[in-house]
């Protein structure tokens, strides 16, 4: 449509109900989303830079940031690696119990976080089924950062599997067959043909798992023990500040966390844009 042409239909569309839908949607979003966000922005801007910096750079806050981002990245990485295996197995093979296996993948998505939290603790505590075996090997999971990583891996599992699996399933087998005909070994084919095709989906899955893990609260609070400077994640620190009525501190940490997570998402989006432009179709 050139800019010189007048639009034949002055409204946004042909079907009725535009005004009503727009009005309701905007009202709802304003009340539920924009107004609360404005409250955060206003509160955050009322703090002095010095105050904010002091709160956010204290040892406890720094430890929490390190743990939250580090454990989330670790969990997302484990999911990227092992989740890909799961996706491969689901997309390519048939085996007994596949339907139940497939259904279980979605469980972390539907299960309330508090339930996941106590369940994971029950399994990985020193008295638990897996925890007792690991304790004999000298590995402690509960009340350590390892436990946090385990819980975050649980939370992010469906994100990688469900984004990678459809791509693997739709991958044209002719590509791999052509590579084999041309003399490529299986590993070579995987590395040069399959992996690049799956990479965009894999990075999307990683980003989603990472973002989810970053904000996670309920699954972590039980297994981590919430020890300050050791196993305390950012959301727990925010709740702690609120319980002390330190609204300024809580806001400062929350604002930094939001900016950091948005930043990460933007970086990931840019990387994905670059990858799909460069890689594209094989």
């Amino acid at each position: 449509m050139t800019s010189g042409e007048a639009r034949l239909a002055p409204r946004a569309g042909v079907l009725p109900g535009f005004g009503l839908a727009l009005g309701f949607t905007v009202l709802y979003l304003s009340l539920i989303v924009l107004l609360p966000l404005a409250a955060l922005l206003i509160k955050a801007s009322s703090l002095s830079w010095r105050e904010m910096l002091a709160t956010v750079s204290g040892p406890r806050a720094l430890a929490a940031f390190r743990l939250s981002f580090g454990a989330s990245a670790m969990g997302a990485t484990i999911n990227a690696a092992l989740g890909s295996v799961v996706a491969w197995v689901l997309a390519r093979y048939r085996f007994p119990g596949k339907r139940a296996f497939d259904a279980l993948i979605d469980l972390p998505f539907a299960l309330p976080t508090a339930v996941a939290g106590i369940a994971l603790t029950a399994v990985y505590a020193p008295t638990g089924w897996a925890g007792s075996h690991l304790a004999r090997l000298g590995v402690q999971v509960a009340f350590t950062p390892i436990g946090v990583v385990v819980a975050l891996t649980f939370v992010g599992l469906p994100f990688v599997v469900r984004t990678v699996e459809p791509v693997l399933a739709k991958l044209d087998p002719q590509l791999e067959e052509a590579a084999a005909v041309l003399g490529a070994g299986r590993l070579h084919t995987l590395r040069r043909v399959v992996f690049p095709a799956v990479l965009p989906a894999l990075s999307t899955g990683f980003a989603l798992a990472f973002a989810r893990a970053l904000g996670e609260y309920g699954s972590i609070v039980f297994i981590s023990g919430n020890l300050p400077l050791r196993t305390e994640i950012i959301p727990v620190l925010i709740v702690d500040r609120l319980e002390q009525y330190d609204y300024a501190g809580a806001t400062a940490i929350a604002a930094v966390m939001l900016v950091a997570s948005f930043g990460v998402l933007v970086v990931v989006n840019v990387l994905q844009g670059r990858m799909s432009r460069r890689g594209g179709a094989v």
Partner: protein
Amino acid sequence: MRWLLVGVAFTFVALLVVAPLAAVFAQAFGHGLAAYWRAVQSADTLGAIELTLLIAVIAVPLNLAFGLAASWLIAKYDFPGRSVLLSLIDLPFSVSPVIAGLLFVLLFGSQGLLGGFVARHGLHVIFALPGMVLATTFVTFPLVAREVLPLMQSLGSEEEEAALTLGASGPRLFFRVTLPKIRWGLVNGVILCNARAMGEFGAVTVVSGLIRGKTITMPLQIEILYNDYDFVGAFAVATLLTLLALVTLAVKRIVEGRQPGAS
């Protein structure tokens, strides 16, 4: 080679998903059926169940209405700001539930933006039901829209436009043409929204103030019982929510069978 991969996948999922799932039921029934029933029927737990259901009954229909309105808006029309709207709908997924709760404390709390207004009118928003409903609504509002919108987009508007030329009014068009088309995606969205709303923990923790008997939902009750070392009690409540999750997943599967386009 394939069995090695299947083995790795199985082990991974067994350690991460099957073990915790089994643990919920093992712990809940570990001291016998009688102890389980006692735990489920305790006054505090029944109160928590009631409150959880109440919040869901308010939040889910609200989000359903929003989901339908927003999906209709984005799928059927083109207007400036459409992509901004789309991004806003995805917003709760990038915000930690704790921060979501904090947002409402900063809005309606005593030191909050509208704190003075709330106090002057004797309203109780945070540390009371309205705040918990708002926080739950915030966290779950994208879920219906995200199921319905792609469906509306992929199914197109031809039937609606045809109905329009045949003289159908707006509401008639919506209820007789659109709604039947998207009904399975809608079901999906509603049950996911419900499961998430009933299971919400972080946002509600912040907003509820944990006032015994008044602002304790099922997830919060789980935490209280657990911290009191009442493990049978905590896991008993957990079994109820776990059953809800399993039913949600089962319905999701059935819906996907009925309408391949859904989700």
